[in-house]
């Protein structure tokens, strides 16, 4: 419904100025750390294979493609061609994501550090957030420690039926058939995320079934986990990072696994991005990368409860 004042931005001048300042400070911070800004396409020929990320298709014979859900593949092509450390501060799009913490178009900061591992990159994320919020506290836990602390169970050794049972007890009776990755996400969102302390929380060593594009390894307990981390700020998911997968054979296997999950869920199958695979074949340098939601960062810095009020024109105002 269109009402009279709707042509105006949802935010006033102070928030608009604050947004500009945050974007400027992000650029200052990263360029002073020797990271090069790159502006990569938002309209690409391929969508990602992630089973739970839906891209927005564009029409027209000569422009058929997808609004990009992240700059990752273009950035990795640059890394493989020798760019060194790079960052992108731009827009990303995800179909169907709309709510108090989601908007279909959002501002994403993504950066890569060549020769770094995920722990070095987590420290830099903490540095960036502290640059904008000097008093922020920070805590680092493994995913397993967080699960043990708030749910009293080991997420890696618990059986799928144990996890499904706990999910059912928490009001999700219909989740008895769900995959391990989905049930872990559900339990994390319902039972861990709301109880995390305020400030920054870094969670590393994500379950192997949620590796996305991170490398796998064995933790101290000998469990197979992924070198993926997530960052929470005041209980809100802020960033997601990896010690990046560089092995093209494993990458092809993950694409295939994604596509079989998509097929099982009756979701559109996605054509694999061959140029991205060629880049990996040629050689992606060992690196760590992270993507950070800038609108969510602004929400937390300004204590705004809805993402709509962190940006001038959310989808509801278009």
């Amino acid at each position: 419904m269109v009402s009279d004042g709707d042509w105006r931005a949802a935010i006033g001048l102070p928030t608009l100025q604050y947004r500009a300042r945050v974007m400027g400070e992000i650029r200052n911070f990263l360029s002073s750390h020797g990271v090069l800004e790159v502006d990569v396409p938002v309209l690409g020929r391929h969508a990602v294979t992630d089973p739970h990320i839906d891209s927005i298709a564009t029409l027209g014979q000569s422009t058929a493609g997808f609004l990009q859900s992240s700059p990752e593949f273009y950035m990795k092509r640059l890394l493989a061609s020798g760019s060194g450390d790079i960052y992108s501060l731009g827009k990303a799009f995800r179909a169907g994501e709309s709510g108090a913490r989601h908007n279909v178009e959002f501002t994403l900061l993504e950066w890569y550090r060549v020769g770094w591992d995920e722990h070095q990159l987590m420290a830099e994320v903490a540095g960036l957030v502290a640059h904008l919020w000097p008093e922020v506290g920070s805590l680092t836990l493994s995913y397993r420690e967080a699960f043990e602390q708030y749910l009293n169970m080991d997420p890696h050794s618990a059986t799928l039926s144990e996890l499904q049972q706990v999910a059912a007890e928490r009001g999700a009776e219909r989740w008895r058939e769900e995959s391990r990755a989905n049930v872990l996400d559900l339990l994390f969102s319902l039972c861990v995320e709301p109880l995390l302390p305020r400030g920054l929380v870094f969670l590393y060593d994500y379950p192997a079934c949620q590796a996305a594009l991170a490398q796998l390894y064995k933790n101290r307990e000998g469990q197979q986990v992924s070198r993926r981390f997530e960052v929470y700020l005041n209980n809100l998911e802020l960033a997601n990072g990896y010690f990046e997968l560089t092995d093209v054979v494993e990458q092809r296997r993950r694409f295939a696994a994604d596509l079989s999950v998509r097929a099982a869920a009756d979701k559109p199958l996605v054509e694999q991005d061959q140029r991205f695979l060629q880049a990996l074949e040629c050689g992606l340098p060992s690196c760590a990368g992270v993507a950070l939601g800038v609108d969510r960062l602004i929400m937390q810095l300004l204590e705004i409860s809805a993402i709509d009020l962190s940006m001038p024109f959310s989808w509801t105002r278009r």
């Binding site: 994501e97 709309s98 989601h102 999700a172 990755a181 969102s189 997601n240």
Partner: protein, 189 residues
């Protein structure tokens, strides 16, 4: 009946959950960056009034409940049933004790109430937010005591007992908030 998918869930929508009619109170879209999207939904069971919290995968759906809210005039009660009339059609509906519930304390003949019908039968009754009712019994008023802030119990025509200021007398008409049962003031005619 139609089905509603999670992306259509919004506050006030009436759906069937485990064969019971429910009203959606809140729907929160949750999606971990790389994970499955889901909806955390708060619903009120319209029969029991209980509030439930359920989690649905995005794209799941619930059957619509044949529940409508209708403005109706309260006519009278005979001890077993309370009778309401649709002002346009003059159609009458009888509500039992379970449907009337706590509203019984605030029903004044001829007042317009919201009667929630489930499959055509009254499921619940919501009185107006504010009603004017006469005090039929209370301790004698303390004249001039308008400042001490003390209260005393008073019985209203409906049988409801509320707390009123000390200065009020039997026979006076008071305005009550039916959601809280609180005295709001003397009724203004």
């Amino acid at each position: 009946m139609a089905n509603y998918s999670t992306n259509e869930f919004r506050s006030g929508l009436k759906v069937m959950l485990e064969r019971e009619p429910c009203s959606i109170l809140e729907n929160e879209f949750v999606k971990p960056g790389k994970g499955q999207a889901f909806s955390r939904v708060k619903l009120r069971n319209l029969k029991t009034g209980r509030v439930l919290e359920k989690t649905f995968k995005s794209g799941e759906s619930l059957e619509a409940a044949d529940v409508i809210d209708a403005d109706m005039q309260y006519l009278y009660g005979d001890g077993d049933f309370w009778y309401f009339m649709e002002p346009q059609t003059f159609e009458q509906h009888q509500a039992d004790e379970k449907a009337v519930g706590d509203a019984v304390n605030w029903l004044r003949e001829q007042d317009i109430c919201v009667v929630t019908l489930y499959n055509g039968a009254p499921l619940s009754v919501t009185p107006p937010n504010h009603v004017d009712l006469e005090i039929v019994e209370t301790d004698p008023g303390l004249r001039g005591d308008t400042a001490s802030g003390g209260t005393k119990p008073a019985i209203l025509t409906t049988g409801a007992v509320i707390k009123v200021p000390l200065f009020l007398e039997q026979g006076e008409v008071v305005r009550v908030d039916t959601r809280t049962g609180e005295y709001l003031g003397r009724a203004k005619d």
